[in-house]
């Protein structure tokens, strides 16, 4: 019997060697019609995402960390897409910057996904705890993890928990969440916890001065620093139609908002969009690590 199947498969019992040095010519997005995703009706409603990351041109370590998770359940009337997206930027001059960002991201993802696991298995149980309180606890846990794993270090943390049409955002530091609307409107959803931004808000310095300020990297809030931490937590509708963009300052400090919008609009899909953002940041000098996550709610 076995030989029969072997014959069916052409007796190929050993796998082919991996095509190490073979050049392939994949079709471009437009040839495959991927960009038509924006028009085609999609069911069930789902979250799709793309990510990009680069060490940049001037740093020796990558101290950024990102996490993207999307889940879809089709079939039930009351099911809604679930997504969790996190970007963290470990502190450059401190010890263990990459330990700080990765332990913050892992701890937070672990905590939130555990909370949603039972719900995904049995949605009728419902969830008692408010999403914003879950987010707050997740950030507190991440803060403890950072303090333990890498004392003296710090990290930014920007997380979006998307459930149905609403997203709950938790934010500390100067990574950012953007809503990119199809009409090219760019909305910065988060507020940088940076000293220079604060001075700019107070009208003490202009935005040009802020961009060149020697202390533009100084944060007044970060995970792992100080015994007290007050994260920004808020809930807002998912930009639809449009995109959610999470990124570290390696992207936004060198690429203007309208360029971000144009690059995303020009790309055939979310993965390519992230890569063109990264390339643009590196072409502008790549002074820092770069992380991007783009998310779209379709259907």
């Amino acid at each position: 019997m076995k030989s029969f199947f072997d014959r069916l498969r052409g007796k190929r019992t050993k796998p082919l060697p991996a095509p190490a040095n073979v050049n392939t010519f994949p079709l471009k997005g437009e040839q495959l019609g991927l960009d038509s995703l924006r028009i085609v009706r999609v069911e069930p409603q789902q979250l799709i995402s793309g990510c990009g990351q680069s060490i940049g041109k001037q740093r020796e370590h990558n101290e950024d960390c990102l996490f993207a998770f999307s889940a879809t359940m089709g079939g039930e009337a009351n099911s809604a897409p679930l997504g969790l997206y996190i970007v963290a930027d470990g502190m450059g001059g401190h010890q263990y910057g990459e330990v700080a960002s990765s332990s913050a991201v892992r701890t937070m993802a672990n905590y939130l996904l555990k909370r949603f696991h039972s719900y995904m298995v049995n949605p009728s149980e419902g969830m008692e705890e408010p999403l914003q309180e879950m987010m707050r606890t997740a950030i507190t846990e991440a803060q403890q993890a950072v303090t333990q794993a890498a004392p003296g270090s710090g990290t930014t943390l920007t997380a979006a928990l998307v459930l149905g049409q609403q997203m709950t955002i938790g934010h500390v530091g100067d990574s950012r969440a953007y809503a990119l609307h199809l009409d090219r409107r760019v909305e910065v959803l988060t507020r940088d916890h940076s000293l220079v931004k604060r001075l700019e808000e107070l009208g003490q310095i202009s935005s040009d001065e802020a961009a060149a300020h020697p202390q533009r990297n100084v944060l007044y809030r970060a995970l792992g620093q100080g015994e007290v931490l007050e994260p920004d937590i808020f809930t807002t509708p998912f930009p639809q139609p449009g995109y959610l963009l999470l990124c570290s300052d390696g992207l936004w400090s060198v690429i203007p908002d309208d360029t971000i919008c144009n690059l995303v609009a020009a790309a055939p899909n979310l993965h390519n969009a992230c890569q063109s953002l990264i390339t643009a940041a590196n072409d502008s000098g790549g002074p820092d690590n770069i992380s991007t996550i783009l998310v779209q709610l379709i259907g």
Binding site: Q95, G126, Q166, L202, N217, T235, T236
Partner: protein
């Protein structure tokens, strides 16, 4: 990286029993800082008595031997300066030494608690008298440091945790900037968490006036209980002292404001000048009668005359409706009244067989309202003639909501009813677990309503449940919806924000007591009254309290926002007009009975009923 990792590993705290330089026996850790720990130790040079000292440890993390040496030299120079300081509010320095990569400073052991602990342990606000006493002593010690020769000493790190309060309630300044040489330069993204430091200090320009600012911030924290490290930097002006703690005198508030000025030139020019201002304020407030300093410019009810009033035969507990030049209001006297909106003259009245506590609704010339006689009544708006009635099997306290050719309302018969407007027949009834007194909210082909056992239902237009949520106690409050989020209050004391599509709890805001009042959404804020007497304004996105306004009794009335003002009644008998953004009182008008009904504002006029039987009309 690897070098730094090893340094962190060597960053081990001393354990009790360890003896340093054959003299100081470590007993306990009393503090942990960025540079190392602070220990309580016993000095063995005094064998016959227990002499306690504080030993501050600083770990030298520099890897370059030359840099290490410079750091130790700087430390020793600073220690020598501090050792010469002689002031009651500065701990004495006894000794210093270095071992391996650590340097130690031996200081007077201060008994007592630091101010941060005191702030956190005190249940209410600290008294002005106590804080004023400490502030004067702090000015005194700062003045001493600033006048040091040849160079002034800048403390640089004034904050509650660096101020010890001894058992005699005097202050001692601890943790001088002696550790500064150990903070080796950092590259890239850095962190400054201060919260108490002035703007110029972040530019590296810390003069005596930086200490003045930080002292202002410390006093602000002590009196307001608002930790500046939790707020954006330099945002004290957004938290005026007396707005948070009205018991504070205007004099002291003005002094704190001056100390916290953004530009150093606008602050007190010296600690001595600030000390004089504090002393003068203390003398003045000691004489002034504090009761006179309450809000002055608020218009009292005496200044406001109603445009007209209308008296019913019993209490008004419902809310009015304006429709085509007439005001419609129900009363406990079983009637629905139609009044001329211009002069309050009676157009007609329509009698039911029970009290009318609902807010009427209008549609195409008809007025819809429920009554405790278990019916929904539909009468002609012009003449008050009945068109049709619809029977439920319980009293109707829930107000009708009209949408998509149907009228939706709840009843004590434990149903949400959907009645066809043209036929007057039930389209469907949705069975609930308890009476429904909450007014349904209808949007996006869904109906939301609370229930007296704490259930909250989301029902589709076919009368089938989409989702449900259970609060701990009754939801009499009527929901409202904005941007896909539905808001309602509950007797369990919470204001809930739920995802309108799926019922997930987005946030929950805890009020002092339960609420039967309904929330109102406007410009990103959710407003709601509570039995704790407050009217709250909550940021819809962040769940943060924007403001609260305390009335004299519980608030069952549901607030309404018109232009930039919020209108709400209270069981204390007043209708309040507050600034919607800030909660500041604009005016109030006193009726002769508790107000439990909700106002209507239309065309610059406020209509509100009271349990004193009157409907009042006031200029908005």
């Amino acid at each position: 990286m690897s070098n730094e990792a090893r340094e962190v590993d060597s960053n081990i705290q001393l354990t009790s029993g360890v003896t340093l330089v054959n003299r100081y026996v470590i007993q306990d850790v009393i503090g942990v800082g960025g540079m190392g720990s602070v220990y309580r130790a016993r000095d063995l040079h005094f064998p016959s008595v227990v002499k306690l000292v504080a030993v501050k440890e600083m770990i030298n993390r520099a890897s370059d031997p030359l840099v290490r040496k410079t750091i130790v030299q700087n430390f020793e120079r600073e220690a020598n300066i501090l050792a010469t300081l002689n002031h009651l509010s500065i701990p004495r320095i006894y000794d210093y030494f270095s071992e391996d990569n650590r340097s130690y400073l031996v200081l007077e052991f201060v008994h007592g608690k630091d101010l941060e602990v005191i702030i956190n342990e005190t249940p209410g606000f600290l008294t002005e008298e106590r804080v004023l006493g400490w502030a004067i002593e702090l000015c005194d010690v700062l003045s001493f440091l600033h006048s040091h020769k040849p160079d002034p000493i800048i403390f640089r790190d004034m904050k509650p945790s660096n101020v010890m309060v001894n058992p005699n309630d005097h202050i001692i300044l601890v943790d001088f900037g002696i550790a500064k040489p150990f903070q080796i330069g950092q590259k890239g993204t850095m962190i400054g968490t201060e919260g108490y430091s002035p703007p110029e200090q972040y530019r590296g320009e810390a003069g005596p006036l930086a200490d003045i600012y930080a002292l202002g911030a410390t006093i602000h924290h002590a009196l307001s209980r608002r930790d500046p490290r939790l707020e954006p930097p330099f945002s004290f002006a957004e938290r005026p002292m007396r707005k948070i703690n009205p018991a504070i005198s205007m004099e002291l508030e003005a002094i704190i404001d001056t100390a916290l000025q953004y530009n150093p030139d606008d602050r007190f020019h010296s600690a001595e000048a600030m000390k004089e201002a504090l002393t003068a304020a203390g003398r003045k407030t000691g004489i002034l009668n504090r009761a006179n300093v309450t809000t002055a410019s608020v218009q009292s009810s005496g200044g406001i005359k109603p445009l007209w009033v209308f008296q019913c035969e019993d209490e008004i507990r419902g809310a009015p409706l304006y429709y085509e030049g007439a005001v419609f209001i129900g009363s406990y006297d079983n009637n629905l009244y139609s009044l001329n909106a211009a002069d309050g003259k009676l157009n007609w009245k329509y009698a039911t067989d029970g009290g009318v506590v609902t807010r009427p609704a209008a549609f195409e010339g008809d007025i819809f309202f429920g009554s405790e006689d278990q019916r929904l009544h539909v009468v002609n708006a012009r003449n008050g003639k009945v068109n049709w009635t619809y029977y439920t099997e319980g009293r109707v306290h829930s107000s009708p909501r009209i949408a998509e050719g149907h009228v939706f309302f709840g009843s004590d018969d434990q149903h949400i009813h959907a009645v066809n407007l043209s036929s007057g027949r039930a389209a469907w009834r949705f069975e609930t677990a308890a009476p429904v007194r909450s007014t349904p909210y209808v949007a996006h082909e869904t109906v939301f309503a609370g229930c007296e056992n704490g259930d909250f239902y989301c029902v589709d237009f076919r009368g089938e449940m989409k989702w449900h949520y259970k609060a701990k106690m009754a939801i009499t409050s009527s929901p409202c919806e904005a941007d896909g989020v539905v808001y309602f209050g509950s007797l369990d004391g919470s204001l809930y924000a739920l995802d309108a599509r799926a019922g997930w709890v987005i946030w929950r805001f805890r009020m002092g007591k339960g609420s039967v009042a309904s929330p109102y959404f406007a410009e990103g804020l959710v407003f709601i009254g509570s039995a704790d007497g407050n009217i709250y304004a909550i940021d819809a996105h962040t769940n943060k309290e924007a403001w609260r306004f305390k009335t004299e009794h519980q608030v069952s009335s549901s607030p309404v926002v018109y232009k930039d003002a919020l209108y709400c009644g209270s069981a204390d008998g007043n209708i309040y007009c507050l600034e919607a953004r800030t909660g500041r009182l604009r005016w109030k008008f006193t009726t002769k009975g508790p107000i439990t009904g909700s106002p209507l504002v239309f065309d610059e006029i406020v209509y509100i009923g009271s349990t004193d039987h009157f409907l009042y009309t006031l200029l908005a």
